[in-house]
Symmetry: C2
């Protein structure tokens, strides 16, 4: 086992070195335009301000949680071996820290790469693409490298999987802030900039007169880039932790630790495959960025399959588990492709919604909601089939292997996460670059290049988003298995007998009670975040109106008159943190309440309901949002009346509604489910000991 952990450590160090090389490559690219540098600096400062504020609040929050962990987890300190509590608290802090570092690195590079990509666009698509892509890849390598490094280090130091759950919980806490907080920030800025700028005043997107325009560009970085990185860091760590909790428990019986070894080996190979995929990515002669991004994903997938086949053969791993892992990966790719169907503007849904927009905004909304709801079917069936196949494949190996199979299928799905993050982080960088080209006045040709790069980013985003929701789905199913494993271990220690918990029967009223309450939580959580965006955007729009009214010459674009960008950034930052906390606390308090009322049975049902409803709403909201976004772009490309037509106005309304759907609420649900699952696992001993019924 140890040699595989060391192998993971080596690969993760390699990924950091590779990230360093990419970083310096991007930094070396020329930049000369003063205006672009200025605006780039404004964005960088805004992003850093947000990150600083967020991390300050987070540090306080993490401090309080760490103290609570020290006192109560895994069991109350006065009842347990206190070293366990210290290790747990330390692992938790390490989890937040590693994730924060990865986020900070990603943010750093993305606010450099945007400037480089903008300037390179003047010379053509090739270098501009590479600047964006390699900038994104720094984030990808940092995220996956940090997660593998953290998990390996914790495992090597503690030799205990429960502390891994603590590490994972740290990652989730940070993801909650980064993803949900960043999501509120980015959409506050985006919605207000669009509505007050484009709709009310009729000035173009990214117009430097708009006071919210810098906040909007900062938002792309903090929400889509840092937030998404933290989210996938979280999923990746959680999937590894779940697999290790179950695999390690199985290994204790046999003593050969093959399952644990397999988890580390497969995780490391995934990162290796991503490194190769990133290193070989080129835009090619055709110059089609979408194709370049997608083909590097397929290349990575192929390399991963090849590497794991060899490893399984060499190290005598179970072929059935290997198969479960590959099923997970393939289903992930298939789900990505189907979610592309619902959001691609050459396919029926987007065209239908664009056409419906001719009849007014109500029809844009109705048809978009409907297609978004339809889109849950293939994804849900895919997840159901992947989990069933993994279970059935691994069941014959022996007791407990079925759930371990599901967790390995999640590991498989997340194996190419390095590539996914790279592709995903590419999006906000080129989106920013487009803004910089516009604000810096770099000319029509550069604008065309960045437009093409941006549109590729949007298409790829749909695929990666479908992928990451599916991966989170499988991960949380695996976490349910980890929860049961934790409860049984705790029950044995408490003298309640081995295999105390056999499962969660829906007909048990406690399970059913938990299930119904659990199902409501993601819905309420999303609603709270969206209301947060809404309230925050109202405040920001008022500020934009005030600036246009009070700053003389701003509306007319008089030379030298600039809006007060920082006011808008401040509103978005403070609002995001203020609106996020109640939603996060609600989810955690609901979990604890259900646990104290109904014990572990109620929590089992609660997690089941939470996963099911969370997946539904996450898929629905992400896809509906992506659909509206592309329907608007489809109209703007000159269809259904083109820009300025009634259809366009309706499509803009759809896009505005879709923004918080796809960038705030939808993707934050993943994190909510993971947080709640981990809280449950960590508190299993407490729920076992105290509960009303």
């Amino acid at each position: 086992m140890e040699k595989f952990i060391c192998f993971s450590l080596v690969v993760s160090v390699a990924s950091f070195l590779f990230a360093g090389w990419l970083y310096s490559w991007v930094k070396k690219q020329p930049s000369s335009n003063k205006r672009v540098a200025e605006v780039g600096q404004l964005i960088r400062n805004g992003a850093n301000t947000f990150l600083r504020k967020e991390y300050t609040v987070l540090a306080r929050f993490a401090g309080v949680v760490a103290i609570l962990i020290l006192l109560f987890l895994p069991s109350p300190i006065w009842k347990s071996n206190w070293t366990e509590n210290i290790i747990m608290a330390a692992s938790y802090i390490a989890g937040t820290f590693f994730s924060a570092i990865a986020g900070k690195i990603g943010m750093q590079i993305s606010t450099i790469a945007n400037v480089k990509a903008a300037e390179a666009a003047q010379k053509g698509i090739k270098t501009s693409f590479l600047a964006g892509f390699r900038g994104g890849a720094v984030m990808g390598m940092a995220v996956v490298g940090a997660s593998l490094l953290g998990v390996s280090a914790v495992m090597l130091l503690t030799k205990d999987t429960t502390s891994l759950l603590g590490f994972s919980f740290g990652a989730s806490s940070l993801a909650l802030f980064a993803k949900a907080g960043g999501g509120i920030f980015t959409k506050t800025a985006d919605v207000s900039a669009d509505l007050a700028g484009k709709v009310e005043l009729g000035i173009p997107e990214d117009d430097p007169r708009n006071p919210a325009v810098i906040a909007d560009n900062v938002g792309d970085n903090v929400g889509d880039c840092a937030g998404m990185g933290a989210d996938l860091f979280d999923s990746n760590v959680a999937s590894l932790a779940a697999a290790l909790v179950m695999g390690f428990a199985l290994d204790k019986a046999t003593g050969n630790y093959l399952n644990t070894a397999m988890v580390f080996c497969f995780g490391a190979l995934g990162l290796l495959a991503s490194i190769i995929g990133v290193a070989t990515a080129r835009i090619g002669k055709i110059g089609n960025p979408t194709k370049a991004l997608n083909s590097s994903t397929y290349v990575t997938t192929g390399i991963y399959i090849a590497l794991t086949t060899v490893a399984t053969y060499l190290f005598d791993f179970q072929w059935r588990i290997w198969a479960a892992c590959i099923v997970g990966l393939l289903v992930g790719v298939v789900i990505g492709i189907t979610s592309d169907y619902f959001t691609d503007d050459s396919k029926k849904p987007v065209r239908f919604v664009a056409k419906a927009s001719r009849s007014g905004p109500a029809f844009t909304i109705l048809s978009g909601v409907s297609y978004g709801m339809l889109s849950v079917l293939p994804a849900m069936i895919g997840i159901a089939v992947a989990s069933l196949a993994a279970y059935k494949l691994c069941e014959p190996i022996g007791d407990g292997y079925a759930m371990f199979g599901i967790s390995m299928s999640a590991v498989g799905m997340l194996s190419i996460v390095g590539m996914i993050v790279s592709n995903d982080a590419y999006g906000p960088i080129v989106d920013n670059a487009r803004g910089l080209v516009e604000m810096g006045g770099l000319g029509e040709k550069a604008l065309e290049v960045t437009d093409e790069l941006d549109s590729a980013g949007n298409t790829v985003k749909a695929v990666t988003k479908g992928f990451s929701i599916a991966a989170a789905g499988l991960t949380v199913i695996a976490l349910l298995g980890a929860f049961m494993s934790e409860v049984n271990e705790a029950a044995e220690a408490l003298g309640l007998g081995a295999n105390y918990l056999k499962g969660f029967d829906i007909m048990n009223p406690m399970v059913f009670f938990g299930m119904i309450v659990g199902a409501a939580i993601p819905v309420v959580f999303s609603a709270m975040l969206m209301l947060g965006v809404d309230r925050n955007a109202q405040r920001m729009i008022a500020e934009i109106h005030r600036q246009f009214k009070e700053i003389a010459g701003l509306k007319e674009g008089r030379e030298g008159v600039v809006p007060e960008y920082d006011k808008c950034i401040e509103i978005a930052t403070i609002g995001a943190i203020r609106e996020l906390i109640p939603a996060g606390l609600m989810a955690i308090i609901a979990t604890i309440t259900v646990g104290f009322i109904g014990g572990v049975q109620a929590i089992g049902g609660y997690l089941g309901g939470n996963i099911v409803s969370g997946l539904l709403f996450a898929i629905f909201m992400s896809n509906a949002g992506g659909l509206w976004d592309n329907a608007k772009k489809h109209v703007e490309a000159g269809n259904e009346g083109g820009k300025g037509s009634e259809a366009h106005k309706s499509a803009v309304v759809g896009d505005t509604v879709g923004d918080p759907f796809k960038d705030t609420a939808g993707p934050s649900i993943n994190t909510q489910i993971t947080v709640v699952s981990l809280v449950s696992s960590l508190m299993s001993v407490i729920f076992l000991t105290f509960s009303i019924f």
Copy 2:
């Protein structure tokens, strides 16, 4: 037992007599205005056309299903006693027939009462209210009378509870057509009339120039009145059937049939309480219709509690079961009140949405969606608490009583359904009356009266809708128990041993597989219905545009020029039926597929997922829709800029989106869940015998 079944029969006959008296009272009310009579006739004809077409398609559908039942259910005819299959098919047909009769009666009276209420409005609110209320009460009495009569008759004739599931399935099939088909019809008409009339042309609501105006009024009758009646008929029958399946199985062991007796006794007492409640309802001296409607609900609740207390004492029923029943009733009332909070225009959510509308339609939608999503919390917790309390109350009585307790809690919640239907059917009648007053030109005073009555209808609707979703929720939980009961009975007959099925463990991959797929079904079902409305409305808007273009003088309102109302009715009717069938088939085929793949375990999970996600979406969509409706009314009452302002335009968009949410998709989900639950129960033998895994 028999004497209680006879008691039920007597009470249901009494309710029909009472309905007859109400019917003749309404019919006796004076009517003289020629124009009102004319328009009333148009509405009546349109409603009858729709009903005839719908029932024709339904008869064919029911014929096919009856033949399938004859061949395959409860077990394939070549393997079983064929009399069982004949009884099952006959029960099924009886179920559709009883429901159709109740719908027809309700429709008949509502298209008379609307005219009477309109004319009475000229003289003041008192008689006008009574005409609307008593018209609605005819429907209420017919629905509950027919359901109790049917259930009692089937039980008396067959002495077998499985045939009751056949009867219930018949009721569900009809409800699927009536509720979902009617829902598509009504919203097609409403959306197109509003959009093409109010928004595009700027003519008022209910303007006789609008070609869709009659279809809109017909829609109120077929969707809100007949559809809602069929829906609650369905829920009522299903709750009684579920309770009887379980109660009868328990009684077979003891031989005293007290549980079966209790179900009939409590059902009959509920109807009796509703009769008294309706008979004593008066608008009083203050003349507040909302108060009159609500207070009659509370009176009925009080009478029911008193009557059941006496009955439990006299006939030595179990007090614990009585308590479960009362808990259900009270939780139903509480959920009704909370759903009122989210849709009442004096409360925060409606005001917030109205205010947000100032910033444009995107904010109307975002805030409405958010509050709609928030509103699931109290309802879900209410259902969770009711089922947990019922279970825990009845568990100590003995094995199997816990689930029976839940089913009795559903019976309790539905006990006052006669009153609920009366209040609910009141809504479309007075809505119609308002239209008739406008089109007949009965003057300002009459308009004021009907406006007040209409607004009371809308407020009460929110309460009754929350109530009926909650009742459906508990009923389907009880149906899950009935499913298990059926499977175990079948398993014993097949020699698989007693208590073959102990429950559905979430950790069993089959259950989990079923749960994820089952959860997707209501979402996809709703989406298909909404796309149906969307497509249909597009067709109808095109027709309205055509008429305004081709019929000379229509737009200007030239004397004697009338639009072709029947064309619009035809489009709505044909479209509704065409759009409905794929959605219904999808749900049924998905159920059968999951059953054949994973057997009864997968179906258990499937039903669990279906219930949970169905409840979430039903509550969300109903409440969001009601909220937008009232936000628009709030703006129209002169707030946030009043009629014609930007806020008003946005609020109209919200209302248009909300219409299919609250009147098509949301309430149809109940029926979808019931249909799927009953299909599962009926096919339990087949799923037990054949399945892939």
